[in-house]
Every structure is written in structure tokens, then in C-alpha cells.
Amino acid sequence: MAAKPKRYSIFSLARNALSYHQGWQRAWRDPDPKSDYEVVIVGGGGHGLATAYYLARECGIRDVAVVEKGWLGGGNTGRNTTIVRSNYLWNESAGLYEHAMKLWEGMSSDLNYNVMFSQRGLLHLAHSVHDMQEIGRRGNAIYLNGIDSEFVTPEQVREMVPFINLDCRYPIHGALLQRRGGTARHDAVAWGYARAADNLGVDIIQNCEVTGFQIEDNTIRGVETTRGRIGAGKVGCVVAGHCSVLAEMAGFRLPVESFPLQALVSEPVKPIIDCVVMSGAIHAYISQSDKGELVIGAGSDAYVSYSQHGGFDTIEHTVGPIVELYPIFSRLKMLRQWGGVVDVTVDRSPLISKTPVNNLFFNCGWGTGGFKATPGSGHVFAHSIKNGNMHPIAEPFSINRFNAGALIDEGAAAAVAH
């Protein structure tokens, strides 16, 4: 194993500055796959890397590989608009997303990596009487689950976002505010978990695509990859938009469809908006990155596609309302636009589950909104893999809920909004 990575600190920064930043170590090794691991995690996005980290850190399982077909975070993790919140309606969701929120609050120091988690506050706008009823119901449910949530008036919205147009085609009747909500740096989350997991002995193997599963007696024995066969006692599959493709390799189907989801950023401007504003009704949300770009997200394109790009009509549906709500942005240039492939379930809640194959676990179905859950998802998935039984927080998110009818319908809280 390589030399123990040095901790990042103000002193290491100063020391490396003196040597013109030539002395930094690489953040994780680049090993060849071994022939066998106790656990193989398929997918090197935030959720897969977090799973590997918590396996090594909390479950005493360090004989772990993460196999990623491209580069770390190159899937939805590195494409997402980084909104973090835990204001979901149902108790099951509150348990899961708030578990994640608490882990976010300590993540940078836990990982010794600055994930730039910024609890800048998140406004969810209500544009109609019905929207007000929805946030009324959800806000009270959230509050009863012990999660922060406040109702704010249009005037209070204007205090937070002085240039917002309250009385436009999408009039603002009020909003739900989660002050602990905010944003984080997406790449840093993947890299921070990768570095910390590698540090504990996890092998992170990039450019290694899983092309099949080795299954004997309905039990997983390993994965076939573009870099050869890798044996495994247990396999956790965390591949987001490609979950159905891997499920097919293992011989079953999932209650999931994969859609394009797009986002765009503007040219950088001086600080103008210091919170996140979202609106489920008009499929548009906005925040500002530390670089100054406005980060704008859309609703998903409404057809199955793995193309990683959607239609311009969806972008138009997004920037139209943005300009209505914030006329000041009408002459901003957009710099970049891209798409991811999001794995959407009918009830807009994830799958964290055993599968019909023994010792093969899936964690997917996060759809348009799983970044916020990254630490919590990895944490409960690691414990579930270790124990062979689902962690109590993960239990309700079993694939079987679609047969039993016990859906966790977060359509209103999660369908468009992230």
C-alpha cells in the first residue's frame, strides 16, 4: 500500500504553497483489480463511494472495491445542481433525508475534505391556493418529524430575494423555508469519499465497466468487467440511470424508468442570490455557485433516454419562468448546458433493497433528487450490506413495496423539485 495520505490542513496548505504546490500527493491510488473482494460496489458516484467509505469506516469491511465504468462522479453526481434539503412529506422519507442532512453537517471534518456544504437556506415557492395547501400539509408534517421548516410570506421572500417579481404570471402566495437546506460541491463529495475510502484500504478502480454478473445457485459470486472477472462475496449496485441495465444482467426488472434531466449555468456574476429558490409548480429552480454562476435546473424530459442530453424545449420551459420571476436575469448569457440520466420510480422514492439474487443489493431510483441523500444513502446501504438485512431507515425502500402496495409517494415533494 502507498504511503499514508497526509491530512489536509492550513499547515499542509502553507507548506505546499512554499514548494509551489509541486508536493501534493495523489488523493487516491489507482490499483489494478484483485481477483476477489469481500464486497464489490458497482458505480463510482457519490452513493457508491459513500457506501464503500462507511463499509470500511463503520462496518469493519475494508476488502472492498468500487468499480466505475468511467471516472469518479462522471454520472449524475458530477452533473447535478447540488441542492441539499430534507423537507419531505412522509415519515419514511423524513427518516432517510434527515439522516443524510445530519451527516452533511459533519461531513467536511469527518472526511478531512472541504465539501463546501453551505446551509444557505432554501425557499420552496407557492404560486396558488393549492400550492399553499401543499406546503401547509408538508410543512406541518416536516415540523412534526422534528425537521426545521417555516412558512414565510411574500414580503419575507422579497427580503431574502429583493429582485424577485412577486406579482407576475406565477404570483407568489408564500413559501416554505428550510434554513438548514442549501448546496454542496458535487465533485468534492465524490472525491472526498474516494480519498477517505482509499485511505482505509478500499480499491477504487476506474475505467472498469461491469458487463455481467456471475450468479450460482441464485447467489452472487462476482462480476464480469472490461478488466476481467472480479470475485465478490457481496455486490452493491449503485449505478443510478443504468440500474435497469444491470438488473437485466442479473435477470430481473425494476420499477424504474430512466429519463434525461438537464441543467444549465450562466456566466459568472457578482453575488446576487444567497439562498436556493425552487418551485415545483413551474419546474425551475436557481442558486448561485461560489464561482458566481447561476445554477439553473429543469424538470426531466418526459421520455426514456440514456442519451445524456434532453430537448431545448425543456430548457425553454425552465428559463421562461426564471425570467418571469427574476426579470433582472433576462440578459444573462448561459455558459453551459448538460444532461444526466435519472432513474425515476413511480412514487419518486428510491430503492435501497435486497434483490431476487442472494447477496446482490441495489441502491437506485433516486431520480432527480438523490444528491442530497448521498451520505445517508451510503451509510444505511453499507450497514445493510454488512448485516445482510436492511438497515431500519432503508427497510421501507425495498423493491417489494411495489408488489405490496406500500408506496412512499413523494410526487409533490420530489417530482420536479430537487
Binding site: 441495465v245 420499477p255 440514456y306 408488489n403 405490496a404
Partner: protein, 100 residues
């Protein structure tokens, strides 16, 4: 974004249409005979393939008729469209290996 050939109206912009999911899912003859697993499977579980996909579209802002599309979901290339009463067109191997 792409053009879709409505079997009745011809080529139109995709924004005139709406996608309605996997095609050729047949409603069970007698739902009461199904167990939970079969019923859940019928309602919620989908192929969601990366590659050739048979799906239903409706020409919402045109003739408002339903039809089927064979589309490659990796590239969004449309191989064929056909009416509900037509058999599923056979794709030649040349057709399915066509780039987008």
C-alpha cells in the same frame, strides 16, 4: 429533441407529441387471478432498455392519435413508427446498427 413521423400526419417536431411509456403491455385478462407480485409487475415494473425500445406516443398537439415507436434510447434514433393495429415492424440488422 427529434422529429417523429406520426403514421397519420407525417414528420412533426417532437414537442407536438407526448411519450406514454413502454408499448405492448397487455392488461391481464382477469386481474383477480393475479397475485401481488404479478399485479405489481404489470403496474410498475418496466424493461427500461438501453437500446431498442418499443414505446407508445400520442400526437397530443396534432391529430391526437396514439401509435407506437421503435426508438434507440441510447441515441434517440427512431427506427420506425407504426399504428396500434399494425404488426411490430421487423428491423433489419443493418437498420438496428445504424448510427444516430
Amino acid at each position: 429533441m427529434f422529429l417523429i413521423k406520426c403514421p397519420w400526419c407525417g414528420y412533426r417536431d417532437q414537442t407536438e407529441f407526448s411519450a406514454q411509456g413502454e408499448a405492448h403491455i397487455v392488461r391481464p385478462e382477469d386481474p383477480y387471478q393475479l397475485d401481488e407480485e404479478q399485479w405489481g409487475d404489470y403496474l410498475f415494473f418496466r424493461k427500461n432498455p438501453k437500446g431498442i425500445h418499443h414505446e407508445r406516443w400520442v400526437h397530443s398537439h396534432g391529430c391526437r392519435r396514439w401509435f407506437n415507436v421503435i426508438r434507440d434510447t441510447a441515441t434517440d434514433h427512431i427506427h420506425a413508427t407504426y399504428r396500434p393495429d399494425e404488426p411490430i415492424p421487423e428491423l433489419s440488422s443493418e437498420e438496428t446498427s445504424k448510427p444516430a
